[in-house]
């Protein structure tokens, strides 16, 4: 979708790589348990879980590279590369959570009388922001799809036709019509399903500890994982909204249309810019969670 799209995609890819690296490096920097897992307090994160996360990021990166390097995609590749990377990360976290060992086959087994809801672990403020961005993305995609027309080679939903003030018709593109919105929607739906399954698994996977101090730490780890998953999904929706908002906005500003069209262009540019700010915030949330959310770990874990 042109030089702007390539620049935005490149910038976002660098951000994703930085965030992904930080997510993976964080547990490795934590002290090790004798069994080889990473220790948070007295509850280790199994090495198997971390390896699945690494594998998810690698699969996402390879998938994102393959998608973005398709020279025949007419810009779909750069647009989808980040959601594909996000899906890879989410899939890795999900499989890691599914592979987390249970309470063990001991002769005597314990279960607390508690109800672990997904909402107990999700970050509320971030969830509101993600919901707003998802709704905005759906709205923008519906609007751009509705007004799109086929391009000069007859490919549906790749151009925008505007009647100029002098009565002539201007057809410009690329425009995020059905040609771009359909694959974007499918990948985001896939990401949403993955994120939902992951946070459900985070809440429902069995407890491994019975004493109250370890349970509190275990809950803190669940909250932190849910926080990272939420931020990853935020990246997944904010990325396409940034690209689509900026590209469609600049397309509207760069034509002979009436004032209303230019106003819509400025609005879309503003949405794209705001989505970029949100995208950076999600990255910050992944890199430095304590800056954006209260600490997930209890400050005083000593009994």
């Amino acid at each position: 979708m042109g030089a702007v799209a390539a620049a935005v995609a490149g910038f976002l890819a660098v951000l994703v790589l930085a965030a992904g690296g930080a997510v993976l490096a964080r547990p490795w920097l934590a002290p090790r348990s004798p069994a080889g897992g990473m220790v948070f307090g007295s509850v280790p994160t199994p090495r198997r879980v971390i390896l699945w996360r690494v594998a998810g990021l690698l699969v996402g990166l390879v998938g994102g590279y393959l998608v973005s390097s398709d020279s025949h995609s007419l810009g779909i590749g750069p647009l989808l590369s980040m959601p594909v990377i996000g899906c890879g990360v989410l899939a890795g976290v999900l499989v890691g959570e599914l592979s987390a060992p249970g309470p063990g086959r001991t002769p005597t087994r314990h279960a607390q009388l508690e109800i672990r809801n997904v909402t107990d672990y999700l970050p509320r403020r971030m969830l509101i922001l993600i919901g707003f961005i998802t709704a905005l993305l759906a709205l923008v995609l519906c609007a751009t799809t509705f007004v799109a027309v086929p391009d000069d080679l007859g490919r549906a939903g790749r151009a925008l036709s505007i009647v100029c003030a002098d009565g002539t018709t201007s057809v410009g593109g690329p425009w995020p019509g059905i040609y771009y919105s359909a694959p974007t929607g499918v990948v985001i739906l896939l990401g949403f399903i993955l994120a939902t399954l992951t946070v459900r698994r985070i809440a429902r996977r069995p407890r491994v500890s019975t004493d109250s101090a370890s349970r509190a730490l275990e809950d803190a780890i669940r909250r932190q994982t849910a926080f990272t998953v939420s931020a990853a999904y935020g990246v997944l929706v904010a990325g396409p909204l940034t690209g689509i908002g900026l590209i469609s906005g600049l397309e509207l500003l760069d034509n002979c249309g009436p004032v209303m069209v230019h106003a819509a262009g400025w609005a879309l540019v503003a949405i794209g810019a705001a989505a970029l700010v949100a995208l950076c915030w999600f990255m910050l949330a992944i890199l430095f969670p304590r800056l954006t959310e209260p600490p997930a770990f209890p400050e005083h874990s000593e009994g």
Binding site: R105, R109, R204, R205, P206, D211, G303
Partner: protein
């Protein structure tokens, strides 16, 4: 703060796991530890925490429902139907009785008074 007791399943016991779960919930409801409208843990969560099949915990819940102690609503979970808290003095007598049994069993193992108190403190955390 006193936290709710855990459900414990002894896999070496001849009593089937579903029956052990049923009896513990029955006791918790009968003694008023679980009150009317309190929600029980989801069947799948309880099964995962105990490392049991979902059918095992589901059977325990079905038996409790058949006894009229709980009711399961689609999407609303399983909730306690009745509240049967015994009088305070009766509860005290029951605790005393259990304590006497504990002391008796521990004495047979040769435990001293300090051993008994240390074990209780350890369990209470």
């Amino acid at each position: 703060m006193t936290e709710l007791p855990a459900i414990v399943v002894d896999m070496t016991s001849p009593v089937p796991p579903f029956e052990q779960i049923r009896v513990q919930f029955f006791t918790l409801i009968a003694n008023g530890v679980l009150h009317r409208n309190d929600r029980l843990p989801p069947v799948r969560q309880l099964a995962a925490d105990l490392g049991l099949a979902v059918g095992t915990t589901a059977r325990a819940y079905r038996e409790l429902e058949a006894a009229g102690l709980v009711r399961t609503h689609r999407g609303g979970g399983t909730r306690v139907l009745t509240s049967q808290a015994p009088p305070q003095e009766k509860r005290g007598a029951l605790v005393h009785e259990r304590a006497r049994a504990y002391v008796q069993q521990a004495r047979l193992l040769g435990a001293t008074d300090s051993d008994l108190i240390a074990a209780v403190n350890d369990v209470l955390g």
